[in-house]
Symmetry: D2
Subunit: 302 residues, 4 copies
């Protein structure tokens, strides 16, 4: 496995230079584009990393999985009264569908849906940002995970489009808490810094029937795990979920920080990271690495 | 397995009466709503049926899988220059997205995409309707499969919306053959009559790395099989693909005749049939039966 | 004229009861629905009123004309770099078009356009709400015109949809000032209380080549007056501008408070008021009164 | 007047070269782009022409006014059960709005609306194309007006987008006749060849309370004339009606052949022609000429 990971990274490294680092906020744009890392964590507790697999990066939208899991933990099926679990067929930050569908977001992995999930969590937790940070520390087994205040503040400053979505949902009666407070929590989640190794470990319960190997916690029921994986498979990669299923064939979730986590149910989790993105907003080299890995080991669920 | 299938049918039979038989053409509306059937076909060639599992019905959109497979067989990856493989997030017959995306349909399982596939096949086959009929006869091992002329003619008579889509794609330069000719072939595919048993057998190559057990044919490569399954998983149930993944967790394809086929990669195919549909256009009792079956046997790919 | 106005009010009074008072904020919903007033102001300075023509009401979107005129006064043609002057073909508060057209509102009389105009005015005036109040006091010759603080606060409280629009425009770089500050000014404009007589006098410069009879002020150039009238004619009545042109044939502007002002170029201004609205958000009895008046005196510009 | 027309043509002639001749069908693309003509027809029967004001050209969408007038003549207000009279806020040939508004076009001057009008006329006339040709011969007083068969056939050949609209309306139950037959009539109307002088004369009833000066016919009632002018004012120039009102201030109708007709109610009709179009599909030099003419003589209705 170790040599396979090394090999794959070398195979995809030439792609660096063809993508574009996210620069909608200055703090993200400054990242070194040449970084490339991978980590695989097996259900029997073995961790393999290669390249920059131990370097923390901004997890961004990968945090939407953690928020969703928190919401399922305390509210279960009731959350689906507030949002759907259908693919959107639209860019992740579009308001068009949100207006036509009267403020009910399509799924928890587009921004509007993640904001509704944060609104649900805001009603439950006194300090949502800290609750989330503590949650991912437990899941990853890394007590040093922190949220980058500079990034969080910068995202808040450029919050206009997310604020527009939140207010639009409020206009339709689908937002219960103060918009600004929810946005602050949301950006703190996005600004969490974790390495490929952290994320592979933190997602392991999704490959393992809900059981977190290193913490011993039963995070979700086996049935809930299948549901979260199903949502990742149909909506996890923005408007490229179909392509990810076609090319990689695994449930996954990406972030504009360049990370992608994928789940091989019953066997492994894997996380790749490379900051340059393709036009759909997913890590260019990361996507290629996962495609090769899936093909080489026959990991596709299909 | 046999007793499980019987049991599941009895569990879901009370749902009959809560849905609505498709009636957009008179010929479909006349079907007896009380019918309910299921068939499971295993990769070692065993067939189980229950209820009306041997009664032929109108396969409708399930035919879109066969058209796609034909197109992949003769044109391979080149077809993706004409359409995508992303979920649409829109009703199956919407023109809105088609106009915004300049005549390029999102995937082969919405009507516009299936029409492009038929246009591709029209350029290749002298007699597309017969080629398709012969293809499904081979795949199902049933030389008696026919297309219902009354249904095909009735669909052609009420072709307005499909004609609108085809002409819109032609306006964008994404349609090469005569619209009326392609529509006639398309409706002949939709009007094919097959039983649950026929369909379970006809889909077995998708559970079996591309190999058709009873004909011995290698229909697709293993890689192509994964790709077709991936597209079914993200786009196979109209605007309910996410829900199907969430509840059932298998690649599948439905038709407004009330049939749903699902694939358990490496193990089984299953087909259920009950004519009454839910608001999303999928078999109400059929969906419930697949959900129960998947839960009972733990067939979910997630 | 006096007897004609009385007669028309009696003709349309039976319509009261068929419409619906705006109730999106409680402060507006409490108005007495039985009120009905009209005022006509001629270019030679004669004022005619009937019914409740001297009762102040919430002018709401009629204020968008005053904001536009202020912006033209200090910025002229430059404002059209920020918004258009085309009809929208959409409900007044839709975000769909705003997203497709990248944050550039169609015209100054839909909410998004009025917010951009307020943003332009915010950059110019130290105290936009007071500037506007003083401006309409001068235009109407009524030093007692005030903005209703209860209404303004209530609108701010239910600002979600307008906030969504403002943030969306900010996301596209078409909003320069603090969203909350601009919204507060905007709602103060909407909450101005004026009578039909006040409004007929305040609009007289638009019937009179830009000259305000009673203040003696040249408010706009004759060319600018024609332009403002043109925009009212094509976009002044939300998504019913075409119907207003068809039935009444005059440039006009309505508000959800139930007021409608219309301009007979070179001759008169007229204002009607009745709080109940039709489904398009325009005064039901007011529209009927203007239709009758236009037909009786042959005032149509067409 | 004569010298004014000459002068205006010279003023705008330098604009030739900045626009683009319509080339969606070859037959239109072959026109000489250097042509520029104008004609003014007064309510007392005087005709002034300048430049190429006597050269026939393809009237294209200007024919939509004649179709509408025919439909009003035989069906009156009943036509508004089939379409609206609101501006569309969309390109003239968009299907998006048509789908959202369930097959009911916004107004008779977008393509979908004109097709519905042609469908209405098809139900009334045995030979719609000849009825129309005879109608415009009478209106223009020119018995030699013909429809260009080459253009009509070419438009039919490239009918895909119009066919898509017609079929979509049929799918919503808003189309009663054979789509192909209606399209053939529609394209024959578009292919009528008339000069500026022909068109100025043919439109004179709209400046003259419905009375056609030279034929003596009362074409419409005075009230119907105001209604047609109102629709032209709000929807006559595709998605530039607002700009035309803003710059010219007259009811008008344009065609992609480069003609624009405008009405000065009670006084004149005017027609300009220059084949090159601006991005909105309206004659570039023609629009400029009308703006100058309106400003010079103070013709604006506002």
């Amino acid at each position: 496995m170790q040599s396979l990971l090394n090999e794959i990274l070398e195979d995809v490294r030439p792609l660096i230079g063809s993508g574009k680092v996210a620069d909608y906020i200055p703090a993200l744009g400054r990242v070194d584009a040449n970084q490339l890392g991978i980590a695989v964590y097996s259900n029997d507790g073995e961790l393999f990393t290669a390249g920059d697999g131990l370097v923390p990066f901004s997890i961004q939208s990968i945090s939407k999985v953690f928020s969703l899991v928190q919401a399922i933990q305390h509210s279960g099926e009731a959350i689906w009264r507030r949002l759907g679990h259908e693919p959107s067929g639209q860019p992740f930050n579009s308001l068009v569908q949100l207006e036509f569908e009267r403020g009910v977001p399509r799924n928890p992995f587009i921004n509007a849906g993640a904001l509704v999930i944060c609104d649900i969590n805001q009603s439950r937790f006194a300090a949502p940002a800290q609750s989330m940070r503590d949650f991912v520390r437990r899941l990853s087994g890394n007590p040093l995970v922190i949220s980058d205040e500079v990034v969080a503040r910068s995202e808040y400053q450029f919050r206009a489009r997310n604020a527009a979505m939140a207010y639009l949902m409020q206009a339709f009666g689908n937002f219960n808490n103060d918009v600004e407070a929810v946005l602050r929590a949301y950006f703190h989640h996005c600004a969490l810094r974790m390495s490929c190794a952290d994320l592979a470990r933190a997602f392991c319960f999704l490959a393992n029937q809900g059981h977190c190997l290193h913490s011993g916690e039963q995070v979700l029921t086996p049935r809930q795990v299948k549901q979260v994986n199903a949502i990742m498979a149909t909506s996890g990669l923005y408007d490229e979920a179909g392509n990810f299923a076609y090319r990689v064939g695994l449930p996954g979730k990406s972030g504009v920080g360049g990370g992608i986590v994928a789940v091989v149910p019953g066997r492994f989790t894997v996380c790749v990271w490379s900051p340059e993105l393709n036009p759909a907003g997913n890590s260019l080299a990361g996507l290629a690495a996962l495609e090769k890995l899936s093909a080489r080991i026959g990991w596709s669920i299909f």
